[in-house]
Protein backbone atom coordinates (compact mmCIF):
# COMPACT_ATOMS: atom_id res chain seq x y z
CA UNK A 1 0.00 0.00 0.00
CA UNK A 2 2.80 2.33 0.97
CA UNK A 3 4.49 1.55 -2.33
CA UNK A 4 1.36 2.62 -4.18
CA UNK A 5 1.34 5.87 -2.32
CA UNK A 6 4.91 6.63 -3.31
CA UNK A 7 4.06 5.95 -6.89
CA UNK A 8 0.99 8.08 -6.68
CA UNK A 9 3.12 10.83 -5.19
CA UNK A 10 5.59 10.51 -8.05
CA UNK A 11 2.80 10.67 -10.57
CA UNK A 12 1.39 13.77 -8.92
CA UNK A 13 4.85 15.30 -8.98
CA UNK A 14 5.20 14.63 -12.67
CA UNK A 15 1.82 16.17 -13.36
CA UNK A 16 2.75 19.14 -11.22
CA UNK A 17 5.96 19.61 -13.16
CA UNK A 18 4.01 19.59 -16.39
CA UNK A 19 1.46 22.01 -15.02
CA UNK A 20 4.27 24.33 -13.98
CA UNK A 21 5.62 24.11 -17.48
CA UNK A 22 2.22 24.99 -18.80
CA UNK A 23 2.14 28.02 -16.54
CA UNK A 24 5.03 29.69 -18.23
CA UNK A 25 2.65 30.34 -21.10
CA UNK A 26 4.47 32.38 -23.69
CA UNK A 27 3.39 35.95 -23.50
CA UNK A 28 1.80 37.11 -26.66
CA UNK A 29 3.66 40.19 -27.73
CA UNK A 30 0.42 41.75 -28.92
CA UNK A 31 -0.94 41.55 -25.40
CA UNK A 32 2.05 43.25 -23.88
CA UNK A 33 0.62 46.56 -24.96
CA UNK A 34 2.22 48.82 -27.46
CA UNK A 35 1.72 48.62 -31.18
CA UNK A 36 2.37 45.56 -33.19
CA UNK A 37 2.43 45.32 -36.95
CA UNK A 38 1.95 41.92 -38.55
CA UNK A 39 3.61 41.57 -41.90
CA UNK A 40 3.62 38.64 -44.29
CA UNK A 41 6.27 38.81 -46.95
CA UNK A 42 7.68 36.84 -49.85
CA UNK A 43 10.76 34.87 -48.98
CA UNK A 44 13.72 37.08 -49.90
CA UNK A 45 12.33 40.18 -48.16
CA UNK A 46 13.26 38.83 -44.75
CA UNK A 47 16.81 40.06 -44.33
CA UNK A 48 16.36 43.69 -45.39
CA UNK A 49 13.19 44.09 -43.35
CA UNK A 50 14.36 42.47 -40.14
CA UNK A 51 17.89 43.80 -40.16
CA UNK A 52 17.26 47.35 -41.35
CA UNK A 53 13.73 48.51 -42.10
CA UNK A 54 11.91 47.34 -38.94
CA UNK A 55 14.41 48.74 -36.43
CA UNK A 56 14.72 52.04 -38.32
CA UNK A 57 10.96 52.53 -38.48
CA UNK A 58 10.54 51.57 -34.81
CA UNK A 59 13.13 54.17 -33.83
CA UNK A 60 11.50 56.82 -36.01
CA UNK A 61 8.01 56.12 -34.63
CA UNK A 62 9.27 56.12 -31.07
CA UNK A 63 10.88 59.50 -31.62
CA UNK A 64 7.82 61.02 -33.27
CA UNK A 65 5.05 59.42 -31.23
CA UNK A 66 6.72 58.04 -28.12
CA UNK A 67 5.23 54.59 -28.71
CA UNK A 68 7.03 51.29 -29.16
CA UNK A 69 6.28 49.43 -32.35
CA UNK A 70 6.90 45.72 -32.61
CA UNK A 71 6.82 43.56 -35.71
CA UNK A 72 5.67 40.00 -36.16
CA UNK A 73 6.35 38.52 -39.54
CA UNK A 74 6.26 35.37 -41.55
CA UNK A 75 8.00 34.72 -44.84
CA UNK A 76 7.24 32.17 -47.56
CA UNK A 77 6.70 31.98 -51.30
CA UNK A 78 4.52 34.85 -52.55
CA UNK A 79 1.67 32.56 -53.64
CA UNK A 80 1.81 30.73 -50.30
CA UNK A 81 1.64 34.02 -48.41
CA UNK A 82 -1.32 35.14 -50.52
CA UNK A 83 -3.17 31.89 -49.88
CA UNK A 84 -2.48 32.18 -46.15
CA UNK A 85 -3.96 35.68 -46.12
CA UNK A 86 -6.98 34.48 -48.09
CA UNK A 87 -7.42 31.79 -45.41
CA UNK A 88 -7.45 34.45 -42.73
CA UNK A 89 -4.00 34.87 -41.15
CA UNK A 90 -3.89 38.22 -39.30
CA UNK A 91 -1.61 40.00 -41.81
CA UNK A 92 -1.86 43.78 -41.83
CA UNK A 93 0.72 44.40 -44.51
CA UNK A 94 1.87 42.11 -47.28
CA UNK A 95 4.93 42.53 -49.44
CA UNK A 96 4.48 40.26 -52.41
CA UNK A 97 6.70 39.20 -55.22
CA UNK A 98 4.11 39.63 -57.93
CA UNK A 99 1.36 42.16 -58.50
CA UNK A 100 -0.99 39.35 -59.48
CA UNK A 101 -1.04 38.20 -55.85
CA UNK A 102 -2.08 41.66 -54.67
CA UNK A 103 -4.84 41.51 -57.27
CA UNK A 104 -5.94 38.13 -55.91
CA UNK A 105 -6.19 39.69 -52.43
CA UNK A 106 -8.23 42.56 -53.85
CA UNK A 107 -10.56 40.11 -55.57
CA UNK A 108 -10.98 38.32 -52.22
CA UNK A 109 -12.05 41.58 -50.61
CA UNK A 110 -8.94 41.95 -48.45
CA UNK A 111 -7.66 45.12 -50.08
CA UNK A 112 -10.05 48.01 -50.63
CA UNK A 113 -7.58 50.68 -51.65
CA UNK A 114 -6.11 51.08 -55.14
CA UNK A 115 -2.36 50.65 -54.85
CA UNK A 116 -1.96 51.14 -58.59
CA UNK A 117 -2.98 54.76 -58.11
CA UNK A 118 -0.05 55.51 -55.77
CA UNK A 119 3.09 57.22 -57.16
CA UNK A 120 5.05 53.99 -57.62
CA UNK A 121 2.04 51.76 -58.30
CA UNK A 122 2.62 50.09 -54.98
CA UNK A 123 6.06 48.80 -56.02
CA UNK A 124 8.62 49.18 -53.20
CA UNK A 125 11.72 47.81 -54.89
CA UNK A 126 12.90 45.73 -57.81
CA UNK A 127 15.69 43.40 -58.82
CA UNK A 128 16.71 41.59 -62.02
CA UNK A 129 16.70 37.82 -62.45
CA UNK A 130 20.10 36.16 -62.74
CA UNK A 131 21.66 32.70 -62.81
CA UNK A 132 23.79 31.44 -59.93
CA UNK A 133 26.42 28.86 -60.80
CA UNK A 134 29.18 27.04 -58.92
CA UNK A 135 32.58 28.73 -58.54
CA UNK A 136 34.59 28.67 -61.77
CA UNK A 137 31.39 28.12 -63.76
CA UNK A 138 32.26 24.46 -64.54
CA UNK A 139 29.22 23.95 -66.78
CA UNK A 140 30.02 27.01 -68.89
CA UNK A 141 26.76 28.87 -68.36
CA UNK A 142 26.72 32.40 -69.79
CA UNK A 143 23.06 32.96 -70.67
CA UNK A 144 19.68 31.27 -70.29
CA UNK A 145 20.02 28.93 -73.36
CA UNK A 146 23.15 27.39 -71.78
CA UNK A 147 20.91 26.00 -69.04
CA UNK A 148 19.31 23.75 -71.67
CA UNK A 149 22.57 21.87 -72.24
CA UNK A 150 22.35 18.20 -71.33
CA UNK A 151 23.72 17.36 -67.88
CA UNK A 152 23.04 20.73 -66.27
CA UNK A 153 21.09 20.26 -63.05
CA UNK A 154 18.85 23.21 -62.26
CA UNK A 155 17.12 24.24 -59.05
CA UNK A 156 14.04 26.29 -59.83
CA UNK A 157 11.42 27.32 -57.26
CA UNK A 158 7.90 26.02 -57.78
CA UNK A 159 5.64 28.49 -59.66
CA UNK A 160 2.66 27.13 -57.74
CA UNK A 161 3.91 28.60 -54.47
CA UNK A 162 6.63 31.05 -55.45
CA UNK A 163 6.35 34.38 -57.22
CA UNK A 164 10.07 34.32 -57.95
CA UNK A 165 9.55 31.14 -59.96
CA UNK A 166 7.03 32.95 -62.13
CA UNK A 167 9.46 35.85 -62.64
CA UNK A 168 12.09 33.33 -63.63
CA UNK A 169 9.85 31.76 -66.27
CA UNK A 170 9.05 35.23 -67.62
CA UNK A 171 12.78 36.03 -67.56
CA UNK A 172 13.73 33.00 -69.67
CA UNK A 173 10.85 33.27 -72.12
CA UNK A 174 11.05 37.05 -72.41
CA UNK A 175 14.82 36.99 -72.74
CA UNK A 176 14.61 34.86 -75.89
CA UNK A 177 11.85 37.06 -77.29
CA UNK A 178 13.77 40.28 -76.63
CA UNK A 179 16.99 38.94 -78.13
CA UNK A 180 15.34 37.55 -81.26
CA UNK A 181 13.38 40.74 -81.68
CA UNK A 182 16.56 42.78 -81.55
CA UNK A 183 18.22 40.50 -84.09
CA UNK A 184 15.45 40.07 -86.67
CA UNK A 185 12.93 42.69 -85.67
CA UNK A 186 10.42 39.94 -84.88
CA UNK A 187 10.10 38.06 -81.55
CA UNK A 188 10.61 34.34 -82.16
CA UNK A 189 7.97 32.72 -79.94
CA UNK A 190 8.66 29.19 -81.19
CA UNK A 191 12.33 29.49 -80.23
CA UNK A 192 11.49 30.97 -76.83
CA UNK A 193 9.09 28.12 -76.11
CA UNK A 194 11.67 25.55 -77.19
CA UNK A 195 14.32 27.07 -74.90
CA UNK A 196 11.94 27.11 -71.95
CA UNK A 197 10.98 23.47 -72.58
CA UNK A 198 14.60 22.39 -72.83
CA UNK A 199 15.56 24.26 -69.66
CA UNK A 200 12.61 22.82 -67.76
CA UNK A 201 13.75 19.30 -68.66
CA UNK A 202 16.92 20.02 -66.67
CA UNK A 203 15.08 21.18 -63.56
CA UNK A 204 15.77 18.62 -60.86
CA UNK A 205 14.06 20.20 -57.89
CA UNK A 206 11.28 22.73 -57.31
CA UNK A 207 11.43 24.11 -53.75
CA UNK A 208 8.56 26.16 -52.33
CA UNK A 209 10.21 29.57 -52.38
CA UNK A 210 13.25 31.38 -53.79
CA UNK A 211 14.84 31.42 -50.35
CA UNK A 212 14.32 27.67 -49.98
CA UNK A 213 15.86 27.18 -53.41
CA UNK A 214 18.90 29.16 -52.31
CA UNK A 215 19.34 26.98 -49.23
CA UNK A 216 19.17 23.90 -51.41
CA UNK A 217 21.83 25.35 -53.70
CA UNK A 218 23.94 26.25 -50.65
CA UNK A 219 23.80 22.70 -49.37
CA UNK A 220 25.62 21.68 -52.56
CA UNK A 221 22.80 20.44 -54.75
CA UNK A 222 22.50 21.47 -58.41
CA UNK A 223 24.67 23.27 -60.97
CA UNK A 224 22.54 26.34 -61.43
CA UNK A 225 19.80 28.35 -59.77
CA UNK A 226 17.71 31.09 -61.38
CA UNK A 227 16.86 33.70 -58.79
CA UNK A 228 16.64 37.35 -57.70
CA UNK A 229 19.98 39.15 -58.14
CA UNK A 230 19.75 40.47 -54.59
CA UNK A 231 19.67 36.95 -53.18
CA UNK A 232 22.72 36.03 -55.25
CA UNK A 233 24.57 39.10 -53.94
CA UNK A 234 23.55 38.29 -50.35
CA UNK A 235 24.84 34.76 -50.88
CA UNK A 236 28.12 36.10 -52.25
CA UNK A 237 28.38 38.39 -49.23
CA UNK A 238 27.80 35.48 -46.85
CA UNK A 239 30.82 33.76 -48.44
CA UNK A 240 29.63 30.35 -47.28
CA UNK A 241 29.18 28.82 -50.71
CA UNK A 242 31.71 29.43 -53.49
CA UNK A 243 29.57 30.61 -56.41
CA UNK A 244 29.34 33.06 -59.27
CA UNK A 245 26.57 35.23 -60.58
CA UNK A 246 25.86 35.02 -64.32
CA UNK A 247 23.94 38.00 -65.65
CA UNK A 248 21.92 36.99 -68.72
CA UNK A 249 22.12 39.20 -71.79
CA UNK A 250 18.44 40.06 -71.52
CA UNK A 251 16.51 39.60 -68.30
CA UNK A 252 13.46 40.84 -66.44
CA UNK A 253 13.31 43.20 -63.47
CA UNK A 254 10.92 41.79 -60.90
CA UNK A 255 8.84 44.46 -59.13
CA UNK A 256 7.47 43.87 -55.66
CA UNK A 257 4.27 45.49 -54.41
CA UNK A 258 3.58 46.32 -50.76
CA UNK A 259 -0.07 46.50 -49.79
CA UNK A 260 -2.16 47.08 -46.68
CA UNK A 261 -4.59 44.27 -45.94
CA UNK A 262 -7.41 46.71 -45.18
CA UNK A 263 -9.77 44.02 -43.95
CA UNK A 264 -7.43 43.10 -41.07
CA UNK A 265 -6.41 46.58 -39.94
CA UNK A 266 -8.27 47.88 -36.90
CA UNK A 267 -9.12 51.56 -36.52
CA UNK A 268 -6.59 52.01 -33.72
CA UNK A 269 -3.74 50.65 -35.79
CA UNK A 270 -4.62 52.33 -39.06
CA UNK A 271 -2.25 55.25 -38.49
CA UNK A 272 0.84 53.21 -37.71
CA UNK A 273 0.18 50.68 -40.47
CA UNK A 274 -0.27 53.45 -43.05
CA UNK A 275 2.81 55.22 -41.74
CA UNK A 276 4.87 52.08 -42.08
CA UNK A 277 3.68 51.51 -45.63
CA UNK A 278 4.58 55.09 -46.55
CA UNK A 279 7.93 54.67 -44.84
CA UNK A 280 8.87 51.93 -47.31
CA UNK A 281 9.24 54.64 -50.00
CA UNK A 282 11.22 56.99 -47.76
CA UNK A 283 14.83 57.74 -48.64
CA UNK A 284 15.92 55.88 -45.50
CA UNK A 285 14.06 52.66 -46.36
CA UNK A 286 15.05 52.80 -50.02
CA UNK A 287 18.69 53.17 -48.97
CA UNK A 288 18.26 50.14 -46.73
CA UNK A 289 16.83 48.13 -49.62
CA UNK A 290 19.77 49.09 -51.84
CA UNK A 291 22.16 48.10 -49.06
CA UNK A 292 20.56 44.65 -49.26
CA UNK A 293 20.98 44.76 -53.06
CA UNK A 294 17.46 45.63 -54.18
CA UNK A 295 17.14 48.40 -56.78
CA UNK A 296 15.48 51.53 -55.43
CA UNK A 297 12.33 52.63 -57.21
CA UNK A 298 12.43 56.23 -55.97
CA UNK A 299 16.02 57.30 -56.40
CA UNK A 300 18.05 56.03 -59.32
CA UNK A 301 21.19 57.71 -57.99
CA UNK A 302 21.25 55.11 -55.19
CA UNK A 303 21.31 52.37 -57.82
CA UNK A 304 24.09 54.09 -59.78
CA UNK A 305 26.24 54.23 -56.65
CA UNK A 306 25.75 50.56 -55.82
CA UNK A 307 28.64 48.96 -57.69
CA UNK A 308 27.69 45.35 -56.91
CA UNK A 309 24.85 45.35 -59.42
CA UNK A 310 25.62 43.42 -62.60
CA UNK A 311 25.37 45.06 -66.00
CA UNK A 312 22.36 43.99 -68.05
CA UNK A 313 22.52 44.58 -71.77
CA UNK A 314 18.83 44.34 -72.52
CA UNK A 315 16.70 44.73 -69.40
CA UNK A 316 12.94 44.49 -69.67
CA UNK A 317 9.95 44.64 -67.31
CA UNK A 318 6.53 43.06 -66.93
CA UNK A 319 5.19 45.81 -69.21
CA UNK A 320 6.94 44.00 -72.08
CA UNK A 321 4.23 41.34 -71.76
CA UNK A 322 1.53 43.95 -71.21
CA UNK A 323 1.45 43.68 -67.40
CA UNK A 324 0.49 40.77 -65.14
CA UNK A 325 -3.06 40.80 -66.51
CA UNK A 326 -1.65 39.47 -69.77
CA UNK A 327 1.58 37.81 -68.60
CA UNK A 328 -0.12 35.39 -66.23
CA UNK A 329 -2.75 33.89 -68.52
CA UNK A 330 -0.55 34.03 -71.63
CA UNK A 331 2.88 33.00 -70.39
CA UNK A 332 2.54 31.31 -66.98
CA UNK A 333 -0.65 29.43 -67.85
CA UNK A 334 -0.71 29.39 -71.65
CA UNK A 335 2.95 28.68 -72.28
CA UNK A 336 4.41 27.25 -69.10
CA UNK A 337 1.57 25.24 -67.61
CA UNK A 338 0.04 23.99 -70.83
CA UNK A 339 3.00 23.64 -73.14
CA UNK A 340 6.04 23.14 -70.93
CA UNK A 341 4.88 21.39 -67.77
CA UNK A 342 2.22 19.18 -69.36
CA UNK A 343 4.52 17.90 -72.04
Amino acid sequence: MKQTFNKAALLTLMLLALALLANCLPQQSAERGGLNITLYGFSVMKESLEKAVYPAFAAKWKQEHGQDVGFASSFAGSETVTNQILQGVPAEIAILSIDRDAQRLKAGGFITSDWHATPYKGIVNKTPFVILVRAGNPKGIHDFPDLAKPGVEIIHPDPVSSGGAQWSILAIYGSELVKSEKQSGEPDTAHALQTLQAIWRNVKSTPGSAREARTQFETGFGDALITYELDGLLMKEAKKTPMEIVVPKATIFSEHPAVVIDKNVTQTKRAVVDAFLQYLWSEEAQKAFVKFHFYSVTNDALNQQHTEFGHIEMPFEISYFGGWDKAYPQVIEGIFRNRVQRK
Partner: protein, 291 residues
Protein backbone atom coordinates in the same frame (compact mmCIF):
# COMPACT_ATOMS: atom_id res chain seq x y z
CA UNK B 1 0.50 -9.98 -22.25
CA UNK B 2 3.78 -8.48 -23.21
CA UNK B 3 4.89 -4.97 -22.89
CA UNK B 4 7.23 -3.44 -25.38
CA UNK B 5 8.58 0.00 -24.64
CA UNK B 6 5.84 0.46 -22.11
CA UNK B 7 3.24 -0.22 -24.74
CA UNK B 8 1.08 -3.15 -24.04
CA UNK B 9 0.45 -5.53 -26.85
CA UNK B 10 -1.65 -8.60 -26.35
CA UNK B 11 0.95 -11.07 -27.55
CA UNK B 12 0.81 -14.73 -26.72
CA UNK B 13 3.57 -15.77 -24.40
CA UNK B 14 5.28 -18.44 -26.45
CA UNK B 15 8.17 -19.17 -24.12
CA UNK B 16 6.51 -22.21 -22.67
CA UNK B 17 5.57 -23.57 -26.07
CA UNK B 18 8.92 -23.36 -27.82
CA UNK B 19 11.31 -26.12 -26.71
CA UNK B 20 14.69 -25.03 -25.45
CA UNK B 21 16.99 -24.07 -28.30
CA UNK B 22 19.42 -26.66 -29.56
CA UNK B 23 22.52 -26.17 -27.48
CA UNK B 24 25.30 -24.58 -29.46
CA UNK B 25 28.76 -25.79 -28.60
CA UNK B 26 31.59 -23.32 -28.32
CA UNK B 27 31.32 -19.82 -29.71
CA UNK B 28 27.90 -18.84 -30.97
CA UNK B 29 28.62 -16.95 -34.21
CA UNK B 30 25.01 -16.03 -34.78
CA UNK B 31 24.95 -13.80 -31.74
CA UNK B 32 27.61 -11.20 -32.55
CA UNK B 33 26.82 -11.48 -36.24
CA UNK B 34 23.18 -10.64 -35.81
CA UNK B 35 23.90 -7.86 -33.32
CA UNK B 36 26.41 -6.22 -35.65
CA UNK B 37 24.13 -6.69 -38.60
CA UNK B 38 21.34 -4.93 -36.72
CA UNK B 39 23.62 -2.01 -35.88
CA UNK B 40 24.96 -1.93 -39.42
CA UNK B 41 21.45 -1.80 -40.85
CA UNK B 42 20.43 0.99 -38.50
CA UNK B 43 23.54 3.02 -39.32
CA UNK B 44 22.43 4.75 -42.56
CA UNK B 45 18.77 4.66 -41.66
CA UNK B 46 18.75 6.14 -38.17
CA UNK B 47 22.12 6.62 -36.47
CA UNK B 48 23.92 8.66 -39.13
CA UNK B 49 21.04 11.05 -39.89
CA UNK B 50 20.70 11.72 -36.16
CA UNK B 51 24.43 12.09 -35.80
CA UNK B 52 24.58 14.67 -38.57
CA UNK B 53 22.09 16.84 -36.69
CA UNK B 54 24.47 16.87 -33.78
CA UNK B 55 27.53 17.40 -35.96
CA UNK B 56 26.02 20.31 -37.92
CA UNK B 57 24.38 21.80 -34.88
CA UNK B 58 27.65 22.10 -33.05
CA UNK B 59 30.00 22.50 -36.04
CA UNK B 60 30.40 26.24 -35.59
CA UNK B 61 31.30 25.90 -31.95
CA UNK B 62 29.36 25.44 -28.74
CA UNK B 63 29.16 29.21 -28.29
CA UNK B 64 27.18 29.59 -31.51
CA UNK B 65 25.09 26.60 -30.55
CA UNK B 66 24.18 28.30 -27.31
CA UNK B 67 23.45 31.62 -29.02
CA UNK B 68 21.16 29.85 -31.48
CA UNK B 69 19.41 28.07 -28.65
CA UNK B 70 18.83 31.15 -26.55
CA UNK B 71 17.60 33.38 -29.38
CA UNK B 72 14.27 34.81 -28.17
CA UNK B 73 12.31 33.37 -31.10
CA UNK B 74 13.86 29.94 -30.49
CA UNK B 75 13.08 29.95 -26.77
CA UNK B 76 9.57 31.11 -27.54
CA UNK B 77 9.09 28.38 -30.14
CA UNK B 78 10.21 25.67 -27.72
CA UNK B 79 7.97 27.00 -24.97
CA UNK B 80 5.00 27.26 -27.30
CA UNK B 81 5.53 23.67 -28.43
CA UNK B 82 5.71 22.43 -24.86
CA UNK B 83 2.64 24.32 -23.71
CA UNK B 84 0.42 23.44 -26.66
CA UNK B 85 1.53 19.79 -26.50
CA UNK B 86 0.81 19.73 -22.79
CA UNK B 87 -2.79 20.82 -23.26
CA UNK B 88 -3.32 18.48 -26.20
CA UNK B 89 -1.92 15.63 -24.09
CA UNK B 90 -4.10 16.46 -21.11
CA UNK B 91 -7.16 16.47 -23.28
CA UNK B 92 -6.31 13.32 -25.20
CA UNK B 93 -5.45 11.29 -22.11
CA UNK B 94 -8.72 12.25 -20.42
CA UNK B 95 -10.59 11.64 -23.62
CA UNK B 96 -8.75 8.37 -24.30
CA UNK B 97 -9.60 7.16 -20.81
CA UNK B 98 -13.24 8.02 -21.23
CA UNK B 99 -13.46 6.59 -24.74
CA UNK B 100 -11.71 3.39 -23.71
CA UNK B 101 -14.07 3.01 -20.78
CA UNK B 102 -17.18 3.47 -22.87
CA UNK B 103 -16.00 1.38 -25.79
CA UNK B 104 -14.78 -1.58 -23.78
CA UNK B 105 -17.60 -1.67 -21.23
CA UNK B 106 -20.60 -1.15 -23.41
CA UNK B 107 -21.60 -2.89 -26.54
CA UNK B 108 -23.82 -0.89 -28.84
CA UNK B 109 -24.65 -0.35 -32.45
CA UNK B 110 -21.89 1.65 -34.14
CA UNK B 111 -19.29 0.80 -31.52
CA UNK B 112 -16.84 -0.58 -34.06
CA UNK B 113 -17.42 2.41 -36.31
CA UNK B 114 -16.45 4.66 -33.41
CA UNK B 115 -13.29 2.67 -32.70
CA UNK B 116 -12.27 2.93 -36.34
CA UNK B 117 -13.01 6.66 -36.43
CA UNK B 118 -10.91 7.33 -33.36
CA UNK B 119 -7.98 5.52 -34.97
CA UNK B 120 -8.38 7.35 -38.27
CA UNK B 121 -6.10 10.36 -37.59
CA UNK B 122 -3.09 8.01 -37.62
CA UNK B 123 -3.50 7.43 -41.32
CA UNK B 124 -4.67 10.89 -42.40
CA UNK B 125 -1.87 13.06 -43.79
CA UNK B 126 -1.19 15.80 -41.27
CA UNK B 127 -1.60 18.47 -43.95
CA UNK B 128 -5.14 17.21 -44.48
CA UNK B 129 -5.74 17.47 -40.74
CA UNK B 130 -4.54 21.08 -40.95
CA UNK B 131 -6.77 22.22 -43.73
CA UNK B 132 -9.73 20.24 -42.38
CA UNK B 133 -9.44 22.39 -39.25
CA UNK B 134 -9.10 25.51 -41.38
CA UNK B 135 -12.20 24.61 -43.37
CA UNK B 136 -14.13 24.28 -40.13
CA UNK B 137 -12.72 26.93 -37.79
CA UNK B 138 -11.00 29.29 -40.22
CA UNK B 139 -12.37 32.85 -40.39
CA UNK B 140 -14.16 31.82 -43.57
CA UNK B 141 -14.82 28.21 -42.52
CA UNK B 142 -18.10 26.40 -41.92
CA UNK B 143 -18.21 27.30 -38.22
CA UNK B 144 -15.59 30.02 -38.12
CA UNK B 145 -17.60 32.43 -40.21
CA UNK B 146 -20.28 32.53 -37.53
CA UNK B 147 -17.76 32.93 -34.72
CA UNK B 148 -15.91 35.74 -36.49
CA UNK B 149 -18.64 38.38 -35.97
CA UNK B 150 -18.58 37.46 -32.27
CA UNK B 151 -14.90 38.29 -32.22
CA UNK B 152 -13.92 34.66 -31.72
CA UNK B 153 -10.93 33.67 -33.79
CA UNK B 154 -9.73 30.12 -33.29
CA UNK B 155 -7.30 29.62 -36.14
CA UNK B 156 -3.86 31.25 -36.21
CA UNK B 157 -3.62 31.27 -32.42
CA UNK B 158 -2.04 28.94 -29.87
CA UNK B 159 -5.50 27.40 -29.57
CA UNK B 160 -5.35 26.32 -33.19
CA UNK B 161 -2.05 24.56 -32.53
CA UNK B 162 -3.64 22.70 -29.60
CA UNK B 163 -6.57 21.67 -31.82
CA UNK B 164 -4.20 20.40 -34.50
CA UNK B 165 -2.17 18.51 -31.90
CA UNK B 166 -5.32 16.96 -30.48
CA UNK B 167 -6.39 15.84 -33.93
CA UNK B 168 -3.14 14.18 -34.97
CA UNK B 169 -2.47 12.52 -31.60
CA UNK B 170 -6.09 11.55 -31.06
CA UNK B 171 -5.73 7.76 -31.17
CA UNK B 172 -2.43 7.42 -29.28
CA UNK B 173 -3.54 7.49 -25.64
CA UNK B 174 -6.74 5.67 -26.48
CA UNK B 175 -4.78 2.98 -28.31
CA UNK B 176 -2.63 2.31 -25.25
CA UNK B 177 -5.40 2.47 -22.66
CA UNK B 178 -8.11 0.49 -24.42
CA UNK B 179 -6.32 -2.90 -24.59
CA UNK B 180 -5.68 -2.67 -20.85
CA UNK B 181 -9.34 -2.03 -20.24
CA UNK B 182 -10.24 -4.96 -22.49
CA UNK B 183 -8.06 -7.44 -20.67
CA UNK B 184 -8.58 -6.09 -17.18
CA UNK B 185 -10.00 -8.62 -14.81
CA UNK B 186 -13.49 -7.58 -13.80
CA UNK B 187 -13.41 -9.60 -10.59
CA UNK B 188 -11.71 -6.86 -8.59
CA UNK B 189 -14.26 -4.31 -9.69
CA UNK B 190 -17.05 -6.73 -8.91
CA UNK B 191 -15.58 -7.41 -5.49
CA UNK B 192 -15.36 -3.70 -4.88
CA UNK B 193 -18.98 -3.32 -5.82
CA UNK B 194 -20.10 -6.14 -3.53
CA UNK B 195 -18.55 -4.44 -0.50
CA UNK B 196 -20.66 -1.42 -1.23
CA UNK B 197 -18.40 0.88 -3.20
CA UNK B 198 -20.07 3.31 -5.56
CA UNK B 199 -19.21 3.25 -9.25
CA UNK B 200 -17.08 6.33 -8.83
CA UNK B 201 -15.22 4.84 -5.82
CA UNK B 202 -14.59 1.64 -7.74
CA UNK B 203 -13.27 3.59 -10.69
CA UNK B 204 -11.07 5.81 -8.56
CA UNK B 205 -9.66 3.14 -6.22
CA UNK B 206 -9.69 -0.01 -8.32
CA UNK B 207 -9.86 0.67 -12.05
CA UNK B 208 -7.68 3.76 -12.30
CA UNK B 209 -4.65 2.41 -10.40
CA UNK B 210 -4.37 -0.56 -12.73
CA UNK B 211 -4.43 1.81 -15.69
CA UNK B 212 -1.62 3.95 -14.36
CA UNK B 213 1.02 2.44 -16.62
CA UNK B 214 -1.12 2.80 -19.68
CA UNK B 215 -2.01 6.39 -18.82
CA UNK B 216 1.58 7.45 -18.34
CA UNK B 217 2.85 5.77 -21.47
CA UNK B 218 -0.13 7.07 -23.44
CA UNK B 219 0.57 10.57 -22.19
CA UNK B 220 4.27 10.42 -22.99
CA UNK B 221 3.63 9.08 -26.48
CA UNK B 222 1.02 11.74 -27.15
CA UNK B 223 3.28 14.47 -25.84
CA UNK B 224 6.27 13.30 -27.85
CA UNK B 225 4.21 13.14 -31.03
CA UNK B 226 2.59 16.53 -30.42
CA UNK B 227 5.92 18.29 -29.82
CA UNK B 228 7.17 17.08 -33.19
CA UNK B 229 4.02 17.92 -35.15
CA UNK B 230 4.64 19.97 -38.28
CA UNK B 231 2.31 19.34 -41.21
CA UNK B 232 -0.94 20.47 -39.63
CA UNK B 233 0.61 23.20 -37.48
CA UNK B 234 2.11 25.07 -40.41
CA UNK B 235 -1.35 25.40 -41.93
CA UNK B 236 -3.31 26.46 -38.86
CA UNK B 237 -0.81 28.51 -36.84
CA UNK B 238 0.03 31.39 -39.17
CA UNK B 239 3.73 30.69 -38.53
CA UNK B 240 4.52 34.08 -36.97
CA UNK B 241 7.92 34.05 -35.29
CA UNK B 242 7.56 34.88 -31.59
CA UNK B 243 3.79 34.46 -31.69
CA UNK B 244 2.52 31.30 -33.31
CA UNK B 245 5.71 29.57 -34.44
CA UNK B 246 6.30 26.21 -32.76
CA UNK B 247 9.70 24.54 -32.54
CA UNK B 248 9.28 22.38 -35.68
CA UNK B 249 8.09 25.44 -37.65
CA UNK B 250 11.05 27.42 -36.34
CA UNK B 251 13.39 24.68 -37.52
CA UNK B 252 11.79 24.70 -40.96
CA UNK B 253 11.92 28.51 -41.20
CA UNK B 254 15.57 28.62 -40.16
CA UNK B 255 16.49 25.87 -42.57
CA UNK B 256 14.78 27.71 -45.40
CA UNK B 257 16.66 30.86 -44.53
CA UNK B 258 19.85 28.87 -44.77
CA UNK B 259 20.57 29.20 -41.06
CA UNK B 260 21.23 25.52 -40.74
CA UNK B 261 23.11 25.84 -37.43
CA UNK B 262 20.17 27.61 -35.82
CA UNK B 263 17.78 25.01 -37.18
CA UNK B 264 19.99 22.22 -35.90
CA UNK B 265 20.33 23.67 -32.42
CA UNK B 266 16.59 23.34 -31.88
CA UNK B 267 16.54 20.00 -33.69
CA UNK B 268 19.08 18.73 -31.16
CA UNK B 269 16.86 19.82 -28.29
CA UNK B 270 13.88 18.01 -29.82
CA UNK B 271 15.95 14.90 -30.53
CA UNK B 272 17.26 14.78 -26.96
CA UNK B 273 13.76 15.39 -25.73
CA UNK B 274 12.31 12.41 -27.57
CA UNK B 275 15.28 10.36 -26.47
CA UNK B 276 14.43 11.25 -22.89
CA UNK B 277 10.76 10.41 -23.29
CA UNK B 278 11.42 7.02 -24.84
CA UNK B 279 14.07 6.26 -22.26
CA UNK B 280 11.53 6.93 -19.56
CA UNK B 281 9.06 4.69 -21.36
CA UNK B 282 11.64 1.97 -21.66
CA UNK B 283 13.41 2.04 -18.33
CA UNK B 284 10.35 2.78 -16.27
CA UNK B 285 8.47 -0.10 -17.81
CA UNK B 286 8.70 -2.17 -14.69
CA UNK B 287 7.21 0.61 -12.67
CA UNK B 288 4.62 1.33 -15.33
CA UNK B 289 3.66 -2.30 -15.66
CA UNK B 290 2.80 -3.12 -12.07
CA UNK B 291 -0.35 -5.09 -12.21
Amino acid sequence: MRSVLGLRFPVLDMSSVIPTMRHVRGFDVARPLSIWMLIFMMMPLVFLPLASIFIFGTSSGLGNFWTALTAPAAVFALKLSMVTSFWATTFNVLFGLFAAYVLSRYNFLGRNALIVTISLPTAIPTAVAGFALLLLWGPYGTLGRFLRPQGIQVMFTAGAIVLANIFVTFPLAFGVIKPVFDTMSRSLEEASATIGATRWQTFWHVTLPSLRGAIVSGALLTFARAVGEFGSTILVSGNLAGRTQTAPLYIFAKFNEGQIEAANAIAIVLALFSFLIFSVLFFARDWLDVD
